[in-house]
């Protein structure tokens, strides 16, 4: 159980990057495992990044392939950092008009609504993001965490706990940012 719920924009945790194929943290399909152990060992000898180099924030992956949406989302994030939530919301909405099926934009808007204390909106927006998120487990986990925060704010503790549990099952590594 969380004692205090930090605002979603303040919750910043460093993201660990891992090089695929080095076998440090990749949970691999068993069938491929045997084959890749061999290749992995070779690659490791050939020069896998040193462990120290792995603990380095990775450049955030683009939010969208459309530069316009990327620009709007970045401006929205910047507005959020200033605490200008109305502008942030308007920018996310513009971005959504261009790319309505981008789950991260819906998530971003849900975070803005959280900051605006519109918790019912948070629940719907995060659910919408989840619907579009497909196999993106980290995003889905983040949505459930956000829904948990909103439920908590609404005083719905049992539902909040259920949401946190779902987040935990989806992404055991815990909260993180992915942009």
């Amino acid at each position: 159980m969380k004692e205090n719920i930090p605002g979603p924009f303040r919750r910043v945790a460093p993201v660990l990057g891992g090089a695929p194929g080095c076998g440090h943290n990749a949970a691999m399909h068993r069938r491929r495992f045997l084959l890749f152990v061999l290749l992995g060992a070779l690659a490791g000898l050939a020069g896998c990044p040193r462990p120290g180099a792995l603990v380095r924030p990775v450049a955030p992956p683009p939010l969208s392939r459309l530069p316009a949406v990327q620009a709007l989302a970045e401006s929205a994030l910047a507005a959020g950092r200033r605490g200008d939530w109305a502008t942030a919301a308007a920018l996310y909405e513009r971005a959504l008009r261009l790319e309505p099926r981008n789950p991260r934009l819906w998530h971003g808007l849900a975070r803005v609504r959280y900051a605006q204390e519109e918790y019912r909106q948070v629940l719907s927006l995060a659910a919408k993001s989840n619907l579009l998120a497909g196999g993106d487990r980290r995003l889905r986990a983040a949505n459930w965490r956000l829904m948990g925060d909103a439920r908590h704010a609404l005083g719905e503790e049992a539902l909040a706990q259920a949401a946190y549990d779902r987040a935990g099952r989806l992404d055991p590594s815990g909260p993180g940012r992915w942009w």
């Binding site: 069938r31 045997l34 530069p67 709007l72 909405e93 808007l109 659910a127």
Partner: protein, 766 residues
Amino acid sequence: MAPRLWPRSPWRWLLWGLALALAAGLYGVWRLDATVRAKFEGHRWAVPAHVYARPLTLYRGLALSPAGLEAELMGLGYRADGEARSPGSYRRHGGVFLLTTRRFRFWDGLQPSRAVRVVIEGGRVVEVTALRRGRDLPLLRLEPVLVGSVYPGLHEDRIPLRLSQVPAQLVAALVAVEDRAFFRHHGLAPRSLVRALWANLRAGRTVQGGSTLTQQLVKNFYLTAERSLRRKLLEAVMALLLEWHYDKEDILETYINEVYLGQHGTRAIHGFGLASHFYFGRPLQELRLSELALLVGMIKGPSYYNPRRHPERARARRDLVLDALRDQGLIDEAAWRAARAAPLGVSPRPLLRGGGNQAYLELVRRQLRRDYLDEDLRAEGLRVFTGLDLKVQEAAEQAVARVLARLERARGLDPGSLEAAVVVSRVADGEVLAVVGGRRAAFAGFNRALDARRPVGSLLKPVVYLTALARPRRYHLVSPLDDSPLEYEAPGAPPWRPRNYDGEFHGRVPLFLALAHSYNVATARLALELGIPAVLETLRRLGVAGDFPPYPSLALGAVALTPLQVARMYQTLAGLGFRVPLQAVRAVTGPGGQALARYGLTLQQAFEPAPVYLLDVALQEVVRRGTARGLGRWLPARLQVAGKTGTTDEYRDSWFAGFTGNHLAVVWVGRDDNRPTGLTGAAGAMVLWGELMGALDQAPLELDAPPEVEWLEVDPARGALAPGCAGALRLPFIRGSAPADRAPCAGARPAAPRRLPWWRRLFRFR
């Protein structure tokens, strides 16, 4: 005897009379003075709220044709111009555009004018760069088109300008033609008056007016159109008073915003600001000398010199103004010659469409009325930013006109007897893009899209089927429904015997096909099984509020809704159970440009996505193999359109509602007198829907499957799993709800696959 103060003679009375008259006159002047000052100082232009269409945002990746961009620019009154360096001008070379935008105050801030290069290739924008420094622009918002005012029925409209915003040439022309002595006189110019009289006498008709600008302003501002000596006198006194109190700049600015320059329906065009938009589709600051001269020339008689109706007269008058400018040395010979050679430059029809858009504006008005007082909307100079997409609006208006005329011809109906209503919205956020309230789009009368409540017929069936699919333990897409004769008796009502449109009964039908073919009897039985209150609850959650009696016939559409309500309901279906309000207004700003309100995106999850997903797939089947098969004529199969036809008793109402990946539209066709039209949903409304949607850029409807949905191969006739069977259909099921039976062709449930030895598994990739 002391001399008397007054001689005892008739003079005495005369002097008393004179003194009294003087006192009365002074009192009158004093009263007049108060009036003049109160009106002039207390006056704020009553500016009705102006409405803007959605701005076009240009960005790399946007689907847009060069012709589409050019049309947009023309709609904004951009001038095709060699340099394209002045605001509101562009140059096109194939798919390459150079253009300079206008500075514009949006609700979220001022956007400066920008010179940019836009390249379109293969139907997409591939480049947007700022010309200065060649910097790549992620997105560029063009200014929006001003489409009208919230109260088009209002008698006066204007776009007020400050004197500093008015081109110097306009002021020069105004003074040169209307009142040469303006900057010298004190409100009256007797010499001009005499000169005008003399000129008129010589010509035998009125060729010159002797009134000063101040007098003209007084006439417009304070007095009626009455022509009498008394009024002339009053005018003169008031002009003198005005000049005494205020400086020339104030008077000129007021004149420029007050002068009457034309008529648009019932709306009077006041001031040069609005007139410039009305005649040229551009702001006053962008007008050329010849165009400014035309506007100044029109003061003398806006309808007599109307450049749209009487281009020759208007041209002659304009040239007269130009001549006066040259004669007084205000322009040089070259400018004079160039301006005289220029065409009138008037836009063919007013861009401020007092016509068209009326139905949309009505929706705007209603949304605003919830938050604003009527007086504020009428007078406070608010600016309203909407989602109106003129391209969609025009396509809808044209489709209505074309299709109705064709249907009437083909069916031998009286011309003009059919009516229609259309609502188009964006699937993503429920913004209303276009509304057509009837055939006469310019007529602000009965708005069928918003106000015509008509039985919806089979458009209601999805509500019944969604109620069923939301109970996955009981229903799935191939659940067998019973389409055999049904008689339902309720106490106190005659027995209800629903029938199918084809007059036949189809026995056992899988659920999705009963919807696809719109079978009434199967649906009625299903609704009775579910319970009418449950169906009503689904309707309410879809966003349709109302007090509907829970009769079983409701399930077959014996419920009257407006096209807008239907759109709301289908919007929730298109949003996979997420309800958004259908909104027209994005934001409202005050007279200073400050944002007063923003109507953001709000979302409410009304259903779990999975059952709505199944229903939407079934609605795609309606188009693929059901009553809406005919849509293939306008929309290719790859768009995977979802939709539903609706027909009511005796063919009184013909409906179609449906959506693609980006647009949702609802169409109603019928008659105002509610008489039969002989049109089914597919024969009437669907044709209109298809033509309209076929004319727009459509994205395929790719439904996002919720994780709890799985696609399985089934034999629909048996309602059984049929993996690998010939003729099997792939349909979605909520996990755990799929039929347990297997079709014979599928054989027994296969044993778990034999595990291969590890070396075989090693090289088996998928």
